[in-house]
């Protein structure tokens, strides 16, 4: 088929025209593409750049090292030790179940831990490290490392964990840390992001909790480049955090340990305070518990054992336990009366063993009565009738005011959990709380530290220190933060008449140094270290008329929880007070038999800064004391055996 040249000319012209048209369309489209490119890359560049940053940069928190806690001499109370754990990165593990099965042949891991980890794997991103086993031993780590080829994706890791080397001694004061719980977070307005880290350790109770923020420090951050899977590619930069502050307590680890051991298995507490500075030298509560158990996550059985124990080992009885102060309150009444000029030191009261007040008979602990009693004798023999009479004259308002001046019924702000404020009741208080008028019988009850009157062992120790010095001694627990001393608690003079104070102290001296003093058997005989004290026995029940008619039931015949509390407060040396102490033995019976011996032993231990010579004790006590000292020494050693496999 032959085409004419005209034909060809025509078809070629059409083709060229259409080619140019199509080319024009293509150019136009390309122009559109360029405009779109410009729109995305120039006009919207900033927005996309921001999105890109978010895409690729992750912040990782660097957990700060928690501040350590020392006693006044630098003994470690809480520290951080390397802890080994085994982690899994699911992305790198082809068969997670097989790997875990294999791992469990090498390392003992509880079903709970595995279950928890599997839940984390399910929920979390596959590139995250998920803890399979925490707090494993070095041997476990070695076994995992040796079998690395069979355990792809599983690797050992080193972290820091809290360790309390003194075991149970400081459990109540210092408390413990534990993993942050959802409940903890729910109580915070704006939790520090580091707290959201899985298994981050955080102060749960006690000093650890009260000073949490300063102990925790500030988390550093690490900027890392991550890929779309969240896997870290490289580090872009880091801002170092701030390590937690090191804290030094006023407590003395040796004394604390001794006192804790001395309290033994009684449900008891003791507080030793430095009269000069207000430094708390020992704050004990027994029975105690091992805080290290809580750090690792306490087992259900152990926890139930602690909570179901009627001796309440978890409670810090020295500050959160409040007791009727009993006869230890008599100094307050005496001082209030002296300050008001209501009583002369030689004025006597006739004690027939009871006092009739508005038709009701109030008994003296001594059924036979004390006979004629003056102020000194009333303290020495702890005559109740004397104080019934005195209190009615002084009135509850003055008594409670004096109690508050001496530190009872006021809350001392100490960095411990649940510090109780106790109660020094007055007319307003009773009307407000009970809607009833104050009765004279209430005053009579209060005069011997019963009724509404409540005080913690801590408050009793403060009261004793204030009586001993005449200054408003404030208890102090925190000695220094990062080596910077905290304000002393020495306090200013309370402005009380020194003569009146001297009379009261003299009365306390008589208690524990003169024959027929209620704590005469528990005296200190070392020269210059004489102790002045006061016994207290507080009822936890009302004695019914029927019981009274049947004859006095001996304390020992009652069930434990209905026996009297035994209290003793004292200070020494009498001439130049150095330490004050309070001891409360719950349901221990008489203050002179259950509490005073403990107080004397602890006080001597403090005064000698170690085991006292036997010569400080009355001759007839020495063999018994010697045996006691040896037993306590053994028990102390036993108590400090590391409970946790401590790899430090």
């Amino acid at each position: 088929m032959k085409r004419t040249p005209r034909d060809q000319e025509h078809s070629h012209r059409v083709l060229s025209r259409r080619a140019l048209l199509l080319g024009g369309l293509q150019l136009g489209f390309a122009g559109g593409l360029a405009a779109r490119m410009r729109f995305l890359q120039v006009d919207q560049a900033d927005e996309f750049r921001l999105l890109a940053e978010e895409n690729r940069v992750n912040f990782e928190l660097l957990p700060p090292a928690r501040g350590r806690i020392f006693d006044r001499n630098g003994t470690v109370i809480a520290k951080n030790s390397p802890s080994y754990r085994i982690v899994i990165v699911p992305e790198n593990t082809p068969d997670i179940d097989a790997a875990i099965t294999k791992l469990r042949q090498l390392v003992e891991i509880s079903d709970e831990e595995i279950k928890e980890a599997l839940e984390d794997i399910e929920a979390g991103r596959r590139y995250h490290r998920i803890t399979l086993a925490d707090q494993v031993t070095w041997e476990d780590i070695a076994r995992v490392a040796a079998n690395a080829p069979a355990l792809s994706g599983i690797s050992p890791e080193v972290g820091l964990t809290r360790v309390y080397p003194q075991n149970a001694d400081f459990a109540h004061v210092v408390g413990y840390v534990g993993p942050v719980s959802d409940y903890d977070l729910s109580k915070m307005d704006d939790p520090d992001p580091i707290l959201l880290t899985p298994r981050f350790q955080f102060g749960k109770v006690g000093f650890e909790s009260k000073l949490e923020e300063r102990l925790r420090g500030k988390a550093g951050t690490k900027r890392v480049e991550v890929n779309a899977g969240g896997r870290v590619m490289r580090e872009l930069g880091r801002r170092e955090g701030e390590a937690g502050r090191d804290m030094q307590l006023t407590l003395d680890a040796n004394l604390q340990s001794y006192a804790q051991t001395r309290l033994g298995n009684e449900s008891a507490s003791a507080v030793v305070i430095d009269c000069e500075t207000g430094d708390l030298r020992a704050i004990c509560s027994s029975p105690s518990f091992d805080p290290n158990l809580f750090v690792r996550g306490i087992s259900g059985k152990n926890y139930r054992d602690l909570t179901s124990n009627i001796y309440r080992p978890l409670a810090n009885k020295s500050v959160q336990g409040v007791y009727p102060p009993g006869s230890t309150f008599k100094m307050v009444v005496a001082l209030a009366a002296l300050e008001e000029g209501i009583v002369g030191t030689e004025d006597t009261v006739w004690c027939p063993g009871h006092l009739e007040v508005s038709g009701r008979r109030f008994h003296c602990w001594k059924r036979a009565g004390h006979g004629h009693v003056n102020l000194n004798g009333s303290l020495k023999g702890s005559c109740d009738v004397y104080y019934y009479d005195l209190a009615i004259k002084v009135g509850i308002e003055k008594i409670s005011a004096m109690a508050r001046r001496l530190g009872l019924g006021v809350r001392h702000d100490l960095p411990m959990s649940a510090v109780a404020s106790g109660l020094a009741p007055d007319k307003d208080w009773k009307f407000k709380v009970h809607g009833q008028d104050w009765l004279v019988g209430d005053t009579v009850n209060s005069s011997i530290g019963q009724g509404y009157m409540l005080a913690s062992p801590m408050q009793l120790a403060v009261m004793t220190a204030r009586l001993a010095t005449g200054r408003a001694v404030e208890p102090r627990l925190l000695k220094s933060i990062d080596g910077i001393d905290q304000p002393s608690g020495a306090g200013e003079s309370m402005g009380l008449n020194e003569n009146n104070l001297r009379f009261v102290r003299k009365g306390m001296y008589s208690v524990s140094n003169e024959r027929r003093g209620t704590a005469y058997r528990n005296r200190i005989v070392a020269d210059g270290l004489r102790m002045a004290g006061k016994t207290g026995t507080s009822q936890v029940r009302n004695i019914t008329a029927a019981e009274r008619a049947a004859g006095v039931i001996r304390n020992e015949d009652l069930p434990w929880e209905r026996r009297d509390h035994a209290l003793f407060v004292s200070f020494a040396p009498y001439d130049n007070p150095k330490y004050a102490i309070s001891v409360v033995v719950e349901h221990g019976g008489g203050g002179s038999t259950a509490a005073a011996p403990i107080a004397r032993d602890i006080l001597l231990q403090a005064l000698y800064d170690g085991p006292p010579p036997l010569t400080a004790y009355p001759k007839r006590d020495r063999p018994r004391i010697k045996a006691l000292q040896e037993r306590l020494k053994r028990e102390q050693e036993q108590a400090h055996k590391p409970s946790v496999k401590d790899q430090a």
Partner: protein, 379 residues
């Protein structure tokens, strides 16, 4: 006999042919390929493996193929057009039965040393067949219905096969390129108006059919369209590609982050970073300037090809040159539109830049045809 055969005397022979190559096109193609090497080097994190080395080898092989095709007179290619079309059609049928299933689609035949995608071959042989058809067809018959239906069938039958694979991108390319050649050949405007109108109707039908028994597209294709229309619907799922691609592109800014400094693509935020989405890496690292430069090179290729097409008096040469240029254009225009969020993600590579053997070899061979037309042009 055609015009060309009559003027065969003026055509160069032997090694002199090399002098008559369209050298600007060779250089442009080489520079596009070089951009590809650069980007593949970058997305591999500064390494020749795993992508640059094989890509470079394929480019060298492609150059050989191009020269080989160019040396053979264009009338030979015209004469074998029908055979070439049938062969690639046969291969296309073959992947229906023997093809490997990759990425959810049956697309290639494993030849041992490389994987051949017959659909790529089809893009070129379809253009060849249509060009030969219109070269053979007397111009006055061009717009007669019977003679219009024939080429439409030539286009639609392979398109249907490709769509069945399923490969939406290639089917669009086949239809657009085929339609383009018909348009160039001088088919009457009215037909195109009718096709555009029915195209709109088809789109409506596609959307209407969704969820019914006669649903025209696969669900994933619908999802792609959905996310194209609103990527924010599902930024981590189906919209992920488009969202991430726009972030990478946009964060490049005016001049880019610098070579190898791109963060989005290298950190795997981008899927298919070395294939369909390689343009985002370029745009992120070299910014607007880089992206515009590549677009300009591409457009220069088109301009030189159109110029060559207009310069030749041979109808087959002109149609084949224009058709291939259009195919080439469709490749990069669709790819760029896709990564810039102007079009749904349909899986079309950036020609000569994206990693992949079939496309590069086929395109180099196709440009061999343009070269052959250029060399064997009567002067």
């Amino acid at each position: 006999m055609t015009y060309l055969a009559n003027n065969a005397q003026s055509i160069p022979t032997g090694f002199r042919k090399i002098l008559f190559l369209n050298w600007p096109l060779v250089l442009l193609m080489t520079s596009v390929a070089s951009v590809g090497f650069l980007m593949l080097y970058s997305v591999a994190g500064g390494s020749f493996s795993p992508w640059v080395e094989p890509q470079f080898k394929r480019f060298l092989l492609g150059l050989g193929v191009m020269l080989f095709v160019a040396m053979i007179p264009i009338w030979f290619w015209r004469n074998v057009s029908a055979v070439a079309y049938l062969v690639s059609f046969g291969l296309l049928l073959a992947v229906e039965f023997f093809g490997s299933v990759g990425m959810g689609a049956q697309r290639w035949i494993d030849l041992g040393f490389m994987r051949l995608q017959p659909s790529e071959l089809m893009k070129i042989t379809l253009v060849m067949l249509l060009a030969a058809y219109y070269d053979w067809l007397p111009p006055e018959k061009t717009s007669r219905p019977f003679w219009v239906v024939l080429p439409v069938l030539m286009i639609l039958i392979p398109t249907a096969l490709v769509l069945k694979q399923p490969d939406l991108g290639t089917s669009i390319l086949l239809m657009a390129a085929g339609g383009g050649v018909m348009f160039l050949a001088g088919v009457h405007w009215a037909y195109f108006a009718a096709v555009i109108a029915s195209g709109v109707g088809l789109v409506a039908a596609v959307f209407q059919s969704r969820g019914t028994e006669w649903q025209l597209l696969k669900n994933y294709q619908y999802r792609r369209i959905d996310t194209f229309l609103d990527p924010s619907q599902d930024p981590l799922g189906a919209g992920y590609h488009i969202t991430q691609s726009k972030i990478a592109l946009g964060s490049g800014g005016w001049s880019g982050r610098g070579f190898m400094q791109g963060t989005q693509s290298r950190l795997n935020f981008l899927p298919e970073k070395h294939t369909d989405f390689i343009f985002t890496t370029l745009a992120e690292e070299f910014g607007f300037i880089g992206g515009l430069s590549l677009l300009s090179i591409y457009m220069l290729v088109i301009i030189f090809a159109i110029a060559a097409a207009i310069a030749t008096k041979d109808r087959f040469s002109a149609l084949v040159t224009m058709g291939i240029a259009l195919t080439f254009f469709l490749f990069f225009a669709v790819n760029m539109s896709m990564v810039m969020g102007l079009m749904p993600v349909v899986g079309v590579p950036l020609p000569m830049v994206s990693y992949g053997g079939s496309v590069m070899l086929v395109l180099m061979g196709a440009f061999g045809l343009i070269q052959s037309a250029n060399i064997h042009r009567p002067r």
